[in-house]
């Protein structure tokens, strides 16, 4: 059957496009939260309630994603919906910070969520840990995007 041999790319491109979609979704959420935090910390006073809410929503979106990532960090997770984005985030954090324990990983993520919660409440409490986590997420997603785009463009 050797005359049937064909060159097959199979589904490499499928995975690259899907990866790009997932990492972009994560990147958008993390970046938007960081923009909102930096604008609030930069001294912005919202003109009205709607403007305040718009910024806060960006932070709460990141908190929701982190909450799912903390769920995905559990080793014995068998129930519930786990978006791929949450898997990616929990994997990126455990990989980047070399956390080799499920409980510890969950705590690291939950600490960041708590900081963000307090920040929304008071706008004053320090949020260094949450910022570090969000920054790492945006850095890794940006690397992943570069890789996918280079492969897709054939550069």
């Amino acid at each position: 059957m050797s005359n049937c041999i064909v060159e097959i790319g199979l589904t490499k491109y499928w995975q690259l496009i899907k990866d790009l979609e997932v990492t972009d979704n994560i990147s958008k959420i993390a970046n938007d939260a960081l923009i909102a935090i930096s604008i609030i910390k930069g001294g912005y006073t919202p003109e009205d309630e709607a403007a305040k809410l718009r910024l806060e929503t960006k932070i709460t979106e990141a908190m929701k994603l982190m909450d799912k990532a903390a769920e995905a960090a559990s080793t014995r997770l068998t129930k519930g919906e786990i978006p791929l984005e949450a898997y990616y985030v929990s994997y990126f954090i455990s990989d980047k910070f070399m956390i080799s324990d499920a409980k510890e990983l969950k705590e690291v993520i939950q600490d960041a969520i708590k900081e963000l919660e307090d920040f929304i409440e008071t706008k004053e409490k320090p949020i260094d840990h949450a910022i570090k986590l969000l920054q790492e997420i945006t850095r890794i997603t940006s690397q992943e995007r570069e890789k996918s785009l280079i492969e897709l463009s054939g550069v």
């Binding site: 049937c4 589904t11 995975q15 455990s94």
Partner: protein, 386 residues
């Protein structure tokens, strides 16, 4: 460069990039307005483009706020960092537009008339077997066998290399690509049910076989790769096996073996694991008259498997991902989630086509193509379509 000039330059870059993005969006929009693409397709792209446009305008308003802040540098840097995501989304829509236009041109190209006619018939038959909507699949000539998801738009360009436009045996590999489409249309169910189960099986087993200190990291890495990349691949292999039976496995056997990769993390499971799974899925169908083919395919596979393996860092690392217990449980879970068995109806037609083909030695374009092409593969021969 003074600090003042630096800041001006920095803000200039953000300004330029935001305006550049809006210009590109409006240019693509005007191309779409002039396009003859069907409105159902256009609507999806225009909606996605409008979303990107709205986000860009929102970034512009955040930029306007940030510039007036007493402490603005950090906010400006963040806004600048957020722009590549918008560009990447625009890249996907540009790709979608170009594929749709290519499809539309190829449909009108007189040189491709016979390919288009036969491919349309093949796609119709295959979509029918795969329970997919034919309108969503856009087959066209390109440089390799592959399939792209077009983001938020429910259309899937499927590519066939020109060298195979007249010899259809390798087209059966498209059943695997259609498996990805099928998987994609069932994402909700899969991420609620199948993926958490796969995650649990992999992590549980690796925690048992790897030493305590490394267990968590290894199990997370393995589960991540299984959930992210391997499950859709195994799913699509099982799907294609249940659509086309031994013909798909025979062609995969040929294509995949020898395609070991050293890249880590691997995007696809190792070929030996994939073929093993296809053979298991085939065996589990328990179809009458198939045993002989399964034996033959197993024997071919065993022969190739006897060749010495070249060990690499990647392959050694992969060994624990492919623990027998993990494979058995995950394969069972994936099989349970592929709810299609078209080969049961198709199999008698393949056997009939095989008898006819060995006499007539040509694929008749006025009869069903899929059974004839599968039969040609089982006969280990290539026939022209007439």
């Amino acid at each position: 460069m003074s600090s003042r000039e630096y800041r001006k330059g920095y803000m200039g870059i953000i300004d330029d990039r935001l305006n550049g993005l809006l210009t590109k969006i409006s240019l693509l929009k005007s191309l779409l307005e002039d396009s003859e693409l069907p409105s159902s397709i256009l609507k999806g792209i225009v909606n996605s483009l409008t979303e990107i446009e709205e986000e860009t305008i929102e970034k512009q308003s955040l930029y306007n706020i940030a510039q007036k802040l007493p402490f603005k540098d950090w906010a400006l840097k963040r806004i600048l960092d957020s722009l590549p995501t918008l560009y990447a989304r625009l890249f996907r829509l540009n790709a979608a537009y170009s594929f749709l236009k290519t499809y539309s041109y190829q449909q009108k190209d007189p040189d491709l008339h016979s390919f288009n006619t036969v491919m349309k018939q093949f796609t119709e038959e295959l979509c029918d077997l795969c329970s997919l909507n034919m309108q969503q699949v856009l087959p066209m000539i390109s440089y390799s066998y592959s399939c792209w998801p077009l983001s938020e738009i429910p259309f899937y360009p499927v590519f066939i290399p020109p060298c195979d436009s007249n010899f259809p045996n390798p087209w059966v590999i498209l059943a695997h690509e259609y498996g990805h489409i099928y998987y994609d249309t069932r994402t909700d169910m899969i991420s609620r049910k199948l993926l958490p189960e796969i995650n649990d099986v992999v992590q549980r087993r690796i925690s048992q076989i790897v030493s305590d200190t490394e267990a968590y990291t290894a199990s997370r890495e393995a589960a991540f790769i299984w959930v992210k990349s391997w499950t859709p691949e195994f799913f699509s292999d099982c799907f294609a096996t249940r659509i086309l039976g031994p013909a798909y496995v025979a062609l995969s056997n040929l294509e995949l073996l020898g395609d070991e990769t050293e890249v880590f993390p691997p995007s696809h499971p190792p070929p030996t694991a994939r073929i093993n799974f296809c053979l298991t899925a085939l065996q589990n169908l328990q179809l009458e008259g198939m045993a002989h083919y399964i034996e033959q395919l197993t024997e071919d596979f065993r022969e190739v498997n006897r060749l010495p393996r070249i060990e690499t860092d990647g392959s050694r690392k992969l060994e624990i991902f492919l623990d027998q217990d993990i494979l058995e449980k995950c394969f069972r879970l994936i099989e349970e989630n592929v709810d299609i068995f078209s080969i049961r109806q198709l199999w008698p037609d393949i056997l009939k086509a095989k008898e006819r083909l060995s006499v007539e030695r040509r694929i008749d374009s006025h009869s069903q193509l899929v059974p004839q092409i599968c039969a040609a593969i089982l006969l280990k021969e290539r026939f022209p379509i007439t």
